[in-house]
């Protein structure tokens, strides 16, 4: 938009320096990784990190699949952030806790079902039931949250509901803590046919299941938003709530529905967490929540397809990043830094391309 050259301040120069430094670091890491993959003894690889072990093809594929599976989960959570941001223009920090409540619901119901003996004999049916229950609980949580904490703040500056949602987040986390105790809640044991590595590319069955469930949920959501009347109303409210209300759309109801849909998606994501990690803690929602928000930003906030893509990006980045960029550069114990990598992705994306990779879709007055 500007033809004119902007006068650069010191801060601008520093930012440019940071951008270049970040990209250079990533580039150097990748180069060293490639060098090590070709020959661990070539001078560049040795200079970067003499002890680095390059990944075998199988390890690499496992990491990618693991990253994609987690990324799909992040993507489902990110939808909730993205949709609420699109409609109300604030970050619902507590959305990660909704996801955690879904995972906990799954743990409780699955272990109850296992006690009753149904889990083993009728796994698919039980799984569907667990997913359904988790979706219901999460939807109810999200709707109550909207009603109690956010609706009275409609129209306030957007930092006010953001701060409120931080409060809601810590409240929900500790709500679960005091009700269910501090111990981990385990999922019932997955059936063997699912957990063992299948001959199909030797990918763990649970990961395929996770990707499949996420895909189904995404298609359902896409249909809801793009093909139904509710979806059209949602998009209208996201574009301009005031005008939508003049066109006869009940904005309140649409906002509730947005929260409900976001909650349902978080419920599905909660079960995916259970499938991937088999147990859940009351603190489990916080980091995935932040990462999912990062995913929403990376994909372009307000953009539904972008959220999923952003989730997959974050998932793969945090799975591969430590081993492909940090380890080749001589960082020891890089897997401990995966959370830091996820945050770094967010920061770098905001530095390099603040509107996300796929472009954001925001209400008209939010655009700058």
């Amino acid at each position: 938009m500007q033809l004119t050259t902007k006068q650069r301040t010191r801060v601008d120069w520093f930012l440019t320096f940071l951008r270049i430094a970040a990209l250079a670091l990533i580039g150097a890491g990748l180069l060293a990784f490639i060098a090590q993959a070709i020959d661990a003894n070539n001078p560049f690889a040795r200079w970067a990190n003499p002890d680095a072990l390059s990944l075998t093809g199988k390890q690499f594929r496992d990491l990618v699949v693991a990253g994609l599976a987690q990324g799909a989960m992040y993507g489902l959570i990110a939808l909730g952030y993205s949709m609420v941001y699109g409609v109300l223009g604030f970050i619902n920090f507590a959305h990660g806790e909704v996801f955690m409540i879904g995972a906990v619901t799954g743990a409780v119901t699955s272990s109850k079902l296992a006690e009753a003996g149904a889990w083993e004999s009728n796994f698919v049916l039980c799984l569907l039931l667990v997913v359904f229950l988790s979706m219901v609980v999460c939807t109810v949580t999200a709707v109550i949250m909207e009603r109690v904490a956010y609706r009275p703040l409609r129209g306030k500056p957007r930092l006010i509901p953001l701060i409120t949602s931080i409060g809601v987040s810590f409240f929900l986390q500790n709500f679960i803590l005091v009700l269910l105790g501090p111990g981990t809640k385990s999922y019932a044991k997955m059936p063997d046919w699912l957990t063992e590595k299948r001959t199909f590319l030797e990918i763990q069955g649970t990961r395929i299941l996770v990707l499949a469930v996420a895909a189904v949920a995404m298609v359902g959501l896409w249909y809801l938003v793009e093909r139904t009347k509710t979806g059209k109303a949602m998009r209208a409210v996201a574009e301009d709530a005031e005008i939508a209300s003049l066109m006869g759309i009940d904005v309140n109801r649409i906002i509730v529905k947005t929260f409900a849909v976001g909650g349902a998606m978080a419920g599905v994501a909660g079960i995916l967490w259970g499938l991937l990690f088999n147990s859940v803690l009351h603190t489990a929602g916080f980091l995935p929540g932040i990462k999912a928000f990062s995913a929403a930003v990376v994909g372009g906030i307000g953009n539904i397809g972008g959220s999923m893509a952003g989730g997959l990006t974050i998932g793969v980045a945090e799975s591969l990043g430590p081993l492909m960029i940090l380890e080749p550069l001589g960082v020891s114990g890089p897997s401990q830094l995966r959370d830091a990598v996820a945050f770094a992705v967010l920061i770098i994306v905001l530095l390099v391309r603040p509107s996300g990779i796929f472009g954001e879709r925001l209400p008209s007055e939010e655009r700058t």
Binding site: L15, I91, T164, I166, G167, I290, S294, L337, F343
Partner: protein
């Protein structure tokens, strides 16, 4: 907007028979909804384990434990809330009476029926698997270790009684209810402050007082509670009487005041009186703060030192959030930088680099480092939208913690084992501050608090402080009015960072060790709650917020007065944050400026109108109309 009972007009209508409603003319739907909400709340409180965990802590010796209090306060609040009515101009103000008491009683009874269900539920089902507190102990508390039937019946009765009390608060005049509430809170406060008061009375060698006040199980004794309540009521009555006489004098005074020319003089003398009284108050507080630690025991000094650390942190964050309006959720990063740099520089146990510097030298370097980190974190985020900025700063805070914890940097920071053996603070050969002497730590903390207060106060009333406030109010306009918003925001970051690093530096000397887990995100959030609770941008408010919250509930890793709350404090902080934002975004204590405005407004309204009239006379007839639209 709400016109409450003490307005003379609403009391006047009580004589009007038409505005009195019949006993059963209730808003049933609202009552049922309130009852339902209350029932959910009560069941949650019961199942959260508060009644069981707090049962040992007696408040009033034989009668009331904190556990039972946790089951009683909510019906009171909800039934009061049910009876609240907005009376706007033009609406009928109904007389309050038996109907409101009944409404409260119904809501309370309905709500506590939830506990009845719980009693029946616990006796018949066992779902202890997910719900850890679904236990016989809870049942024992709920039915007073008597029969299930008693438990099932008594809770609705208790609910009706407390509810009637809550609803009845609308019937009495505001003064009576306010006095009652304050008396109740004073008794609660006296019971909670048991350890401090015992400590104080030992310090002053008047153990007899605390022995008389408190029973063997830490609660106030029965007669002591009554005496405390009566004393509180007496003090309140005195305050009301003083206010009445002051108001009467003020009204008479303003009528007799000379016309417009004397107006500004008058306001100036009012000011002077106001200011000098405040200065006197400050002087007293400072004297008390300096002298009091000498008479306090270890526990209380320790507690106050923790409070002081959070005052420091909160004042630093107050500059960033309260003055400049930047929501920084990663403030703990600066705390960590302060703590770890002092640890590395002073401890002989620091793995890679161990210069074993004196504390003050290390502090200086810690300040520089924190300022640099502030610049480094600030620069990339400064142009982001406010909400993105919040998440990114949170990310930076986490990154710093993760790096401190990592194997990669464990050569310098020792990973999860942390850095130990940090020596105390040598104060120029005069004294040594060590963790096991809480009094010395407290004085060190107080010294830095004084610095932080001075810095905040001075900067607030300077060019940069005004620039910060302008950025907070409207960044675009601030920029157009000639404020370099980028550098103003960066300065806020750096100043806040340096103040935060003080706290970290003191913490590492106080505890003698630093661990990454002391710098989790929750620390940032608790500091934010303190700042918001105290009132953003308001220095006395922030200090009061820290004293109340950290003193009573405790910090994320530090115990407060109510140590029983340890498990519940984050829950309470979360709920408090939501409540604060919903109720009043400006914090508990109104900012000084707002208070002054109210004051001056009352004093000057008449004089101003007169001045206007005179000015209009001077400019001629036409001006008379122009003032019509502008009366405040």
């Amino acid at each position: 907007m709400t016109v409450t009972g003490d307005f003379p007009t609403t009391q006047g209508t009580s004589a009007d028979a038409a505005s009195r409603r019949r006993l059963l003319d209730q808003d049933w739907q609202k009552l049922v909804r309130a009852g339902g909400i209350l029932a959910l709340g009560q069941v949650f409180i019961a199942l959260s384990g508060m009644p069981v965990n707090f049962d040992r802590r007696l408040l009033i010796d034989p009668i009331l434990s904190l556990g039972y209090l946790s089951l009683i306060w909510l019906p009171l609040v909800v039934s009061y809330w049910v009876g609240r009515e907005q009376v706007l101009e033009g609406m009928t103000a109904y007389a309050r009476g038996g109907r409101d008491v009944l409404a409260g009683a119904i809501a309370g009874a309905l709500g506590n029926a939830g506990l009845t269900l719980l009693v029946v539920g616990i006796t018949h089902f066992d779902i202890r698997d997910p719900l850890v507190n679904w236990s016989p102990q809870l049942l024992a508390i709920l039915h007073f270790e008597e029969s299930v039937w008693l438990g099932a019946v008594i809770w609705p009765v208790i609910g009706a009684a407390t509810g009637a009390l809550g609803g009845g608060m609308h019937c009495a005049s505001t003064r009576i209810t306010r006095t009652a509430v304050i008396a109740g809170l004073t008794v609660f406060g006296a019971a909670v402050l048991e350890s401090v008061i015992t400590d104080l009375s030992q310090g002053f060698h008047i153990e007899a007082v605390s022995d008389w006040l408190y029973g063997p199980k830490r609660g106030l004794t029965y007669p002591a509670a009554i005496v405390v309540a009566v004393a509180a009521i007496a003090v309140m009555a005195g305050i009301w009487a003083y206010r009445d006489s002051a108001m009467r004098a003020g009204l008479v005074g303003s009528r007799q005041s000379p016309a417009a020319p004397g107006e500004s003089d008058r306001s100036r003398t009012v000011w002077r009186r106001f200011i000098s009284r405040r200065l006197l108050g400050y002087a007293l507080v400072i004297a008390a703060v300096v002298v009091l630690p000498l008479f306090l025991g270890r526990l209380t000094n320790e507690l106050l030192a923790n409070v002081g650390l959070f005052i420091l942190l909160a004042l630093g964050l107050n500059i960033i959030v309260g003055l400049a309006g930047i929501l920084d959720l990663g403030y703990v990063a600066f705390f960590a930088v302060g703590g770890y740099s002092v640890a590395v520089l002073t401890s002989p146990g620091s793995p890679r680099f161990s210069p074993e510097m004196p504390w003050f030298g290390a502090l200086f370097i810690a300040m520089l480092l924190a300022g640099l980190v502030g610049l480094f974190i600030g620069a990339p985020v400064i142009r982001m939208r406010g909400d993105y900025l919040a998440v990114v700063t949170l990310g930076f805070g986490e990154i710093i913690r993760i790096l401190l914890l990592s194997d990669w940097l464990s050569g310098t920071f020792n990973g999860a084992q942390g850095i130990t053996n940090i020596p105390g603070v040598e104060v120029f050969g005069l004294a040594t501050v060590r963790g096991f002497e809480p009094r010395s730590v407290l004085y060190l903390v107080l010294f830095f608090c004084a610095i932080a207060i001075y810095v905040s106060w001075r900067l607030e009333n300077s060019r940069i402080g005004r620039a910060w406030m302008a950025v907070r109010e409207d960044e675009t306009v601030a920029e157009v009015m000639g404020v370099d918003t980028v550098s103003a925001k960066l300065m806020a970051f750096v100043t806040g960072a340096v103040l935060g690093s003080f706290s970290g530096a003191i913490l590492s000397a106080k505890v003698g060790s630093v661990f990454p887990h002391s710098f989790a995100i929750i620390v940032s959030i608790v500091i934010l709650v303190v700042v918001i609770f105290g009132g953003m941008g308001n220095i006395p408010g922030v200090i009061a917020g820290a004293v109340v919250l950290i003193g009573v509930l405790g910090g994320p890793n530090q115990p407060g007065l109510l140590q029983e709350f340890a498990e519940y404090k984050i829950l309470i902080y979360g709920a408090l944050l939501v409540w604060m934002m919903l109720q009043r975004s400006e914090g508990l204590i109104p900012s000084v400026r707002r208070a002054q405005e109210l004051h001056i407004d009352e004093m000057n309204q008449d004089a101003w109108l007169r001045a206007q009239a005179e000015a209009d006379d001077a400019t001629g007839g036409g001006g008379g109309n122009s003032s019509v639209g502008e009366q405040p």
